[in-house]
């Protein structure tokens, strides 16, 4: 029920703030903050610090990721940056370089 979709051919350079789910299929450079879930689909490029609720990452993310809930790195994801979240899963086949902070 995501109401915001940044399509595959869309590039946003700057700051994106959303109170709802955000699905990224295209490119975001700058900053991305959502109150709710963030999905970075396979093929998407995010060069930004990302914050929000539950996150599903399958694309390329360069930047720090902060979630109030869980972060899921799916197979094929490429994440360079620190991840701060209550829960994290890294699937077989996901690429990840950075620190994990689970706030224990």
């Amino acid at each position: 029920m995501a109401s915001t979709v940044i399509g595959a051919n869309i590039t946003i350079e700057g700051e994106v703030i959303a109170d709802e789910d955000v699905v990224v299929q295209g490119t975001v450079r700058g900053k991305l903050s959502a109150k709710d879930g963030v999905t970075v689909e396979s093929g998407a490029v995010v060069e930004a610090d990302v914050s929000g609720g539950p996150m599903t990452l399958a694309g390329q993310v360069t930047g720090n990721v902060t979630s109030t809930d869980r972060v899921e790195l799916q197979s094929g994801a490429r994440v360079v940056g620190n991840v701060k979240a209550a829960r994290i899963t890294i699937a077989d086949g996901a690429h990840f370089k950075g620190n994990v902070d689970m706030d224990v």
Partner: protein, 131 residues
């Protein structure tokens, strides 16, 4: 009103769902948006918007821009800044536009608020063009 309908009917939207982008009502963007596909903006944008496809600006949207470029542009919301369309520009009933409009054809529905200049590129009929 009739004019608006004609222009909307004449323009056949290319619906390619994969290319389409939607920026929801609660979304605020400060920066530049560019792209090849169609885009629908329902939230608020501060910055330039340059897309190759069609641009739809919903009633809930508010845009402050230096430059807004697209093919067909449909505006139902608030726009402050210039609109440069290669296709038709349509201002719906709820549109509030402050800036110049450029497009292949321009239509303004009853109820729309508009302050600015209109520049429409069109070819004169041969009989008029020769004069």
């Amino acid at each position: 009103m009739a004019q608006a309908k004609t222009s909307a009917a004449r323009h056949v939207p290319r619906s390619t769902s994969r290319d389409a982008g939607v920026l929801g009502t609660s979304v605020r963007i400060r920066g530049k948006i560019s792209g090849e596909g169609d885009l629908q903006i329902l939230g608020s944008v501060e910055g330039d918007v340059v897309v190759r496809g069609d641009l739809t600006i919903g009633e809930s949207a508010s845009i402050e821009t230096e430059n807004l470029e697209a093919q067909a542009v449909t505006i139902q919301g608030e726009v402050k800044g210039d609109v440069n369309a290669t296709g038709p520009v349509r201002l719906g009933r709820t549109a509030r536009v402050h800036g110049d409009l450029k497009g292949s054809e321009i239509s303004i529905e009853e109820g729309a608020q508009f302050a600015g200049r209109i520049e429409a590129d069109f070819e004169l009929p041969a009989s008029l063009g020769k004069r």
